[in-house]
C-alpha cells in the first residue's frame, strides 16, 4: 500500500465522519416544519412515545417518517436526486414524463371495460331520474394525448382518443357528447396546456368553450371581445411538485377578461362565503396559483350574473372546469358548480330544487376514469 493509499483512506474516514456528523447536527438545529409548501402536505411531527406504540412497531415507523419528512434542506436533496436521474437518462418520475421543450406530462393508462361501464351507468342513472334536463358531457383530452410529439420517445401511454370514443358510443343518444378533441388538436401548437401543471390554460378552455357553445346553440364571444391579461409568469404547477424535476421554466397564467364588464356574485355555499369575482387573486402569492380560478375546488359554488334571459346551468366537474366557467358565465344567469369529490348531498335533489335548464359534465379524461366520486351520483 502506498503512502497515497493510506492518506486517501484517512481522508475518506475523516470526510465520512464529518459528513454524517454535520448532517446530523444540521438536522438537530433546523426547527421542525408543520407544512411543506412544495409538496403541499402536512409533514409528520415527532411521534409520542408509549410502550404500546413501541411494541406494535408504530412508534419506530412513525419516527422514521418523521426523520425523513423533517430532513434538513429536503428540497435541495430532492433536486439532487432528480438531477442525477436525468443524467442517468430517466425520463419520468412519480408518473410524470419529462417532455421536450420543458413540458411535464402526466401518464395516462387506458381504462378497463368495467371502469368505462360504471361511469356510463352512473350518468345514465341520473339521466333516468331527470330525463327532461338537457345533458352535455365534455371529456377533455390531456397533454399526454394532444402533445404526443413533446413526450419522450416510446413513452408507453394509454389511448385517450379511443377511451373517449368508447364513452361516446355507449352513451344514450339524447345525452350530448361534446367532442373537443378536434378543436384542441387543431390548437395544439399554441399554449393550450401549462408546462408544469396538469391543467389546460385559459386558451385551451376557450377553444373548448367555442365547441360547447356551438352545440348548445349559443353564439360564443370572439377572442377579440376579451382583454387577455397575464397575471403571473412565475407559476410552478402540480407536475413540477409531483415529479420533483428541476431546472424548468415557470408558466404564465393569462386571464380572458371580457371587455364588457358585468357584475358576478360567487357564492361558496358550504363555506357560507360570497365573492364578487370569479378570480381569487390572492392565490397568486401561493404555491397552487391555478386556484385563482374560482378559488380552487369546492363542493358547491353558485354563480349568479346579470344575464337577462334567466337560464340556469348545472356543472358537475373536476378542476378543468374552473378555467372554462368564466367563459360560460357570460351566457347564463345562474351556474351551479358541483364537485362530487366534496359534495355529499343528492344531485337529483339539487336539480329538482333549482330547476336547471342545462347540465354539463366536465372532466379531463384522466380524472374521469381514475376518480371514483362520479359513481356517487347514482345514490
Amino acid at each position: 500500500m502506498t503512502r497515497y493509499d493510506k492518506r486517501t483512506r484517512a481522508v475518506t474516514g475523516l470526510l465520512f465522519l464529518l459528513f454524517i456528523l454535520m448532517v446530523a447536527v444540521l438536522n438537530i438545529l433546523t426547527p421542525d416544519q408543520a407544512f411543506s409548501e412544495s409538496e403541499n402536505r402536512v409533514l409528520e411531527s415527532r411521534p409520542r412515545f408509549s410502550l404500546r406504540s413501541l411494541l406494535g412497531g408504530k412508534f419506530t415507523s412513525d419516527y422514521e417518517t418523521y426523520i425523513t419528512d423533517q430532513f434538513a434542506f429536503r428540497d435541495v436533496w430532492i433536486g439532487i436526486k432528480t438531477d442525477a436521474d436525468r443524467v442517468m437518462g430517466k425520463k419520468d418520475s412519480n408518473g410524470v414524463y419529462l417532455g421536450k421543450d420543458g413540458y411535464l406530462i402526466q401518464h395516462f393508462s387506458s381504462p378497463q371495460d368495467a371502469e368505462v361501464n360504471d361511469r356510463i351507468q352512473a350518468i345514465h342513472s341520473i339521466h333516468q331520474k331527470t330525463p327532461d334536463l338537457r345533458k352535455y358531457i365534455m371529456l377533455v383530452p390531456t397533454a399526454a394525448a394532444l402533445l404526443r410529439d413533446k413526450l419522450p420517445a416510446y413513452a408507453p401511454l394509454g389511448d385517450e382518443h379511443a377511451a373517449l370514443n368508447r364513452v361516446r358510443q355507449s352513451l344514450q343518444p339524447d345525452i350530448r357528447f361534446v367532442d373537443v378533441y378536434p378543436a384542441l388538436y387543431a390548437g395544439r401548437e399554441e399554449a393550450i396546456f401549462y408546462k408544469t401543471d396538469h391543467h389546460w390554460t385559459s386558451k385551451g378552455a376557450y377553444y373548448a368553450y367555442r365547441v360547447l357553445c356551438k352545440q348548445m346553440g349559443i353564439v360564443p364571444k370572439d377572442e377579440a371581445a376579451f382583454n387577455i391579461r397575464q397575471v403571473t409568469d412565475a407559476f410552478y404547477g402540480s407536475l413540477y411538485s409531483k415529479s420533483g424535476f428541476r431546472h424548468l421554466q415557470p408558466d404564465r397564467i393569462n386571464l380572458y377578461l371580457p371587455k364588457e364588464e358585468s357584475k358576478k356574485k360567487v357564492e361558496y355555499v358550504y363555506e357560507g362565503r360570497t365573492a364578487d369575482s370569479l378570480y381569487q387573486m390572492d392565490n397568486l402569492s401561493k404555491k397552487d396559483k391555478y386556484a385563482l380560478f374560482l378559488n380552487g375546488n369546492h363542493a358547491l359554488v353558485r354563480i349568479t350574473t346579470e344575464h337577462p334571459d334567466g337560464k340556469k346551468l348545472l356543472i358537475v366537474k373536476d378542476s378543468y372546469a374552473n378555467s372554462l366557467i368564466p367563459f360560460l358565465a357570460e351566457h347564463f344567469t345562474e351556474i351551479d358548480v358541483v364537485d362530487l369529490r366534496y359534495y355529499e348531498e343528492s344531485v337529483t335533489k339539487l336539480i329538482q330544487d333549482r330547476q336547471f335548464h342545462d347540465m354539463l359534465f366536465l372532466y379531463n379524461v384522466k380524472t374521469f376514469f381514475e376518480d371514483t366520486s362520479i359513481l356517487n351520483i347514482m345514490e
Partner: protein, 468 residues
C-alpha cells in the same frame, strides 16, 4: 433498522461511533452489545426475546461442552441438544407454515398454523451460534466465558440483518483485542460508502425496472421486456445483497473487526462451481464446513458424494426461503455443480472464455426466475416468454421505452459487476498518485451525497389536493 435509511446514517451511526470511541476500551464490547440490541429492537421490539434466548442458550451450551470436554458422550449430547434447539427455533418461525401446508395438501387436512412474521436475521444468527457450539465441541475455538463478548459476537449489528455469516473463529481474537487506526477506519468508510451506493443508487434504481416488468400481466410480456426485467432483477439482487455485505464489512472495520468478504464479482464466473465460490461466500463455506464435510464430503466414493451434494443444495435452497421454488432453485444449481464435477468442467476448460461466461450467466439468470417466482408455473411461463414460446411479441413501446430509459444504467451496472472500475482506480493511483487520490475521494463523496439524496426522496410524496 436497516443501513440504507436516514435514521441509521444520520442518527444511530454517529451516536454509536461517538459513544464507542469516547468509552474506555474495556467498555467497548458493552457499548457495541447495547447498540446492537437497540438496532435490532428498533425493527423487532418483540422478537428480540428470541435472539437473546438463542444467545444465552448457546453461551451456556458452550460452557457445558467445555466443562465436559473430557467426557465425550455428555459433550456430544449437549451439542446435539444445542443444534436441535437452534434448528427447532428456526424451523418454528421459518418453516412451520410451509411444512403444515404441504402436509395439508398431501393428506387433505386442514391444520391451522399461526402465520407468524419471520424474525429478521434469524437465519443468520442461528447459523452463527451453531458454528460456535460445533467449533467449541471440536476444540477448534476457545470457549467464550464472557457473556458480553459472546453477545457482541451473536448480535453484532453490522452483520446481524443480512450477513455475512461470520464464524466465531474468524473474530474470536478481535472480540478480546482490537485496534483501529485512522486508515483502517477510512478503509471501513470506503467499504461502507461503496456498499451504500450499490444498494441505494444501483440496486434500488434498477429494481424499479423489475417492478415494472413484474407487474405486467404475463400474457402481455414481450421477449425484450422479459429479458430486460430479469436482467434488472439479476443486477438488483446482486447489488442489493453485496451492497449490504460491503456495508457490513465496512462497519465492522470501523469498529475494528475483520469480516470475510462475501462476494467477489460472481457474474464474471466461467462455471457454476466458480459462481458459487464468488456468491454469498460465507453461506457456501458454512454448508461445506458444517454439512458437506461432516457427511463425508467427497471422500467416500462418487455415490455418497452425490448424496452429500444433493443434501447440501437442498438445504441451500431451503435456507433462502420456505417455499418449493427455493428448493428447486437450490437443486437446480446442485445439478449443474454435479455435472461440472463429472464432465462439464473438463469441457469448459477447452471452450473459449466467452462461452464459459455465457453458459454461466444463462444458468444464473434463468435461476433467478426460479428464485423470484414463488409460484413455479409462473416461473415456467416467464422462462417460456424469455425464449419466445407462447406467442409473445418481440418488442412493444413499453419495452423500447424501458430500454431507452434504463439502457445507460444497465451498461453501468454490467461494468460495476466486473472488477474493471476498481482496477481502473488502482491503475490511476499507481500512475498519478495525487490524481488517483482525488478521484477516489471524489467518487466516495459523490456516492455518499447522492445516496443520501435518494434516501430523502424515498418518501417524497407530494400531496396534490388539487386532485386530478
Amino acid at each position: 433498522m436497516v443501513f440504507s435509511s436516514l435514521i441509521f446514517l444520520f442518527q444511530f451511526l454517529p451516536a454509536v461511533l461517538l459513544v464507542y470511541y469516547v468509552s474506555p476500551k474495556k467498555l467497548r464490547n458493552v457499548v457495541l452489545f447495547a447498540a446492537s440490541l437497540i438496532f435490532y429492537a428498533w425493527g423487532e421490539p418483540v422478537y428480540i426475546v428470541i435472539m437473546i434466548f438463542t444467545t444465552v442458550f448457546d453461551y451456556i451450551n458452550g460452557l457445558v461442552i467445555d466443562k465436559y470436554s473430557h467426557r465425550k458422550p455428555i459433550a456430544r449430547a449437549v451439542l446435539l441438544g444445542s443444534i436441535c434447539g437452534s434448528l427447532a427455533i428456526l424451523s418454528f418461525f421459518k418453516y412451520a407454515g410451509f411444512v403444515v401446508s404441504n402436509v395439508n395438501d398431501l393428506f387433505g387436512l386442514h391444520i391451522q398454523v399461526a402465520d407468524l412474521p419471520l424474525p429478521v436475521g434469524i437465519s443468520f444468527y442461528t447459523f452463527q451460534t451453531m458454528s460456535y457450539v460445533v467449533d467449541v465441541y471440536h476444540g477448534k475455538v476457545p470457549t467464550q466465558r464472557n457473556i458480553v463478548a459472546f453477545g457482541t459476537y451473536v448480535t453484532m449489528f453490522p452483520q446481524l440483518v443480512a450477513g455475512p455469516i461470520v464464524k466465531y473463529g474468524d473474530i474470536a481474537e478481535q472480540l478480546v483485542f482490537r485496534k483501529v487506526t485512522l486508515e483502517q477506519f477510512g478503509e471501513g468508510a470506503e467499504w461502507f460508502i461503496r456498499g451504500l451506493a450499490k444498494k441505494v443508487l444501483l440496486a434500488n434504481n434498477i429494481g424499479l425496472l423489475w417492478t415494472n416488468v413484474n407487474s405486467t400481466p404475463m400474457e402481455d410480456l414481450t421477449v425484450l421486456s422479459a429479458w430486460l426485467g430479469i436482467l434488472a432483477f439479476t443486477f438488483q439482487i446482486y447489488f442489493d445483497f453485496s451492497g449490504y455485505s460491503d456495508m457490513a464489512r465496512g462497519l465492522g472495520k470501523m469498529f475494528g473487526f475483520e469480516f470475510p468478504e462475501n462476494f467477489k464479482h460472481p457474474y464474471i464466473s466461467r462455471s457454476v462451481t466458480e459462481f458459487w465460490r464468488r456468491w454469498h461466500i460465507s453461506l457456501g463455506s458454512w454448508f461445506r464446513e458444517y454439512v458437506y464435510i461432516p457427511l463425508g464430503g467427497n471422500r467416500m466414493g462418487l455415490g455418497k458424494q452425490f448424496r452429500n451434494l444433493l443434501i447440501v443444495w437442498f438445504l441451500t435452497g431451503l435456507w433462502h426461503g420456505a417455499s418449493w421454488n427455493f428448493i428447486v432453485w437450490g437443486l437446480y444449481f446442485g445439478c449443474f455443480v454435479a455435472f461440472e464435477k463429472l464432465f462439464l468442467l473438463k469441457w469448459l476448460k477447452r471452450w473459449p472464455n466467452w462461452a464459459g461466461h455465457l453458459y454461466t450467466l444463462m444458468i444464473v439468470v434463468v435461476g433467478w426466475v426460479l428464485f423470484e417466482f414463488e409460484h413455479l408455473p409462473s416461473a415456467w411461463m416467464f422462462i417460456r416468454a424469455m425464449f419466445g414460446f407462447g406467442g409473445h411479441e418481440w418488442v412493444d413501446r413499453q419495452a423500447l421505452y424501458d430500454l431507452t430509459t434504463y439502457g445507460g444504467l444497465l451498461v453501468l451496472l454490467a461494468l460495476c459487476a466486473t472488477p474493471l472500475p476498481r482496477k481502473g482506480l488502482e491503475q490511476m493511483k499507481a500512475r498519478w498518485n495525487s490524481v488517483g487520490m482525488i478521484a477516489a475521494l471524489a467518487l466516495s463523496i459523490i456516492s455518499l451525497v447522492l445516496s443520501s439524496a435518494y434516501l430523502v426522496f424515498e418518501d417524497y410524496n407530494p400531496f396534490l389536493y388539487f386532485r386530478f
